[in-house]
Point group: C3
Chain length 212, copies 3
């Protein structure tokens, strides 16, 4: 029962990321095959990197259902991308669910293979962000990572919270719930209240002159 819920969250994550790929294909006025390409790339890109780095079989090679999820999303987006585009804010919340669940699942997969917390955190972040990175690079648009929103940070926080809680308590359900909640709170704060982290600011020119 527990594992079924995770299974659904996993499919939800792939589907949500695939939707964002379909939106990019629609904005670029592409054909249906390009929808299929962008939906698949964004939907399964992060998990593919995670599995490649962990040296385990790639999840969609093991279970092709994930590819059918991408196919179904492509068809839906081909007909309804303009409506989904009009949703705007709800979509950002769905995307937040994807980031939160992937950051936890990426870390959990690494730890279940015996890797330590530092590796687990990187796998969580890679899972949650790489699909979107690929989507933006191939579409030739500025990476979502560079937009100074709390995005990468939410994935980091989710993966760290999961890993630390699991090590401290040994309870994986508690760890997953807390990690998921932490990522949602941070990403949700960015969406709803425009939270952001301080940016790097170099010292003023006067200070820089002292270096010369």
């Amino acid at each position: 029962m527990q594992s079924e819920i995770w299974q659904y969250l996993d499919f939800l994550g792939v589907a949500v990321f695939a939707v964002t790929g379909g939106l990019v294909a629609a904005r670029l006025r592409q054909d249906f095959i390009a929808f299929l390409f962008f939906c698949s790339l964004t939907g399964i890109g992060g998990g593919t990197l995670r599995d490649t780095l962990l040296d385990v079989p790639v999840f969609w090679v093991v279970d092709e259902s994930y590819l059918y999820v991408c196919l179904i999303v492509s068809v839906i987006m081909w007909f309804y991308a303009h409506k989904v585009e009009a949703w705007g804010r709800p979509l950002r919340w769905l995307d937040a669910v994807g980031v939160a669940s992937y950051s936890v699942m990426g870390a959990a997969k690494a730890i279940s293979l015996g890797d330590n917390a530092a590796v687990a955190v990187l796998m969580g972040v890679a899972s949650a962000t790489f699909g979107g990175i690929l989507r933006d690079i191939i579409a030739g648009q500025p990476s979502a990572l560079l937009q100074r929103e709390i995005y990468l940070a939410a994935a980091f926080a989710g993966a760290i919270t999961y890993s630390v809680t699991l090590m401290a308590s040994g309870q994986s359900n508690l760890a997953a719930a807390l990690g998921f909640a932490m990522a949602m709170v941070l990403r949700g704060g960015a969406i709803a209240k425009d939270w952001h982290l301080p940016s790097y600011t170099p010292p003023k020119k006067k200070d820089m002159d002292e270096l010369d």
Copy 2:
């Protein structure tokens, strides 16, 4: 004998993609080492992704002849890129041969490893397109995928035709010939008769207003 013909097609595919990498290096007025880099990246990129995702040894690590093909193409392109550039149309037909043979070979490799049709199709497409994607990204030019030609679609069609025919008939030679032919017809139609698929078109503004 049969396998030898495929072997040659395989080398032809690497060589043709390498030529397109060399053309990009020439347009960017790069030095010889960059020619070597772009020829290799484009020539072996797609097959490298395929083998990494399938978790089998990378083909050019197993048989370094492919690297020598890239080296030879680099030398030829260094001296004759301007003549190859002037060929234009013949080159696009050669590239079509590369796409068609790679889409079939990618799918065939996945199926020979016991993977199902959905995975095989994705491997065919990845093999046929990833080298060109890398080339365009690193050269900083718009991806060939976004130019609304039938390119990705030809790779998809070749891989699907191969997979479906193989499953229906059990005859791999027939499947390979049909898959190759299907990809060539679609890509050839795009080259010779400017075929293209319909692009995504959002409803007119009036319809969109109804959403508000």
Copy 3:
């Protein structure tokens, strides 16, 4: 003792590349998490590609110390990026040390796994350059590879010198020293004396017209 020196060079390579990632994050005025992302991506990207292609466990999954190196560099860069930026030339020499040691270590790892010289050279080049390629792509800046400096060529020369010397003499220390020196001389010449390789130049217009 010998192996310890290499170990330190290895950490130095990761740290130096991580510093260049931090500089990019600072120029883009990013937050701390993006510093962590760019430092890690650039620091471990090349070695990650190498290990993935060689189908061996990724080095930082095996030994997470490399991740702590990236974390420490991120913190230092967050506070002192403007000072490091002001160093300019010394940094380019440090980067040269990174390229030289990585090109040799990448080739050495491939040869130690039984691969031949052509594969080893490609692994050396991939190790030394891929982190920087990823950094430039995600930051949306023109690739360092395209700037017609002797960069890629230094990595090639280091890996080739190492491989050839090892095969001719059987002495790995000698081969490593010569490979490292060769890469440093070429890259150093580019930094100090603006050495560069001849660029591709198409024949003059008159010659081209003859093709018509």
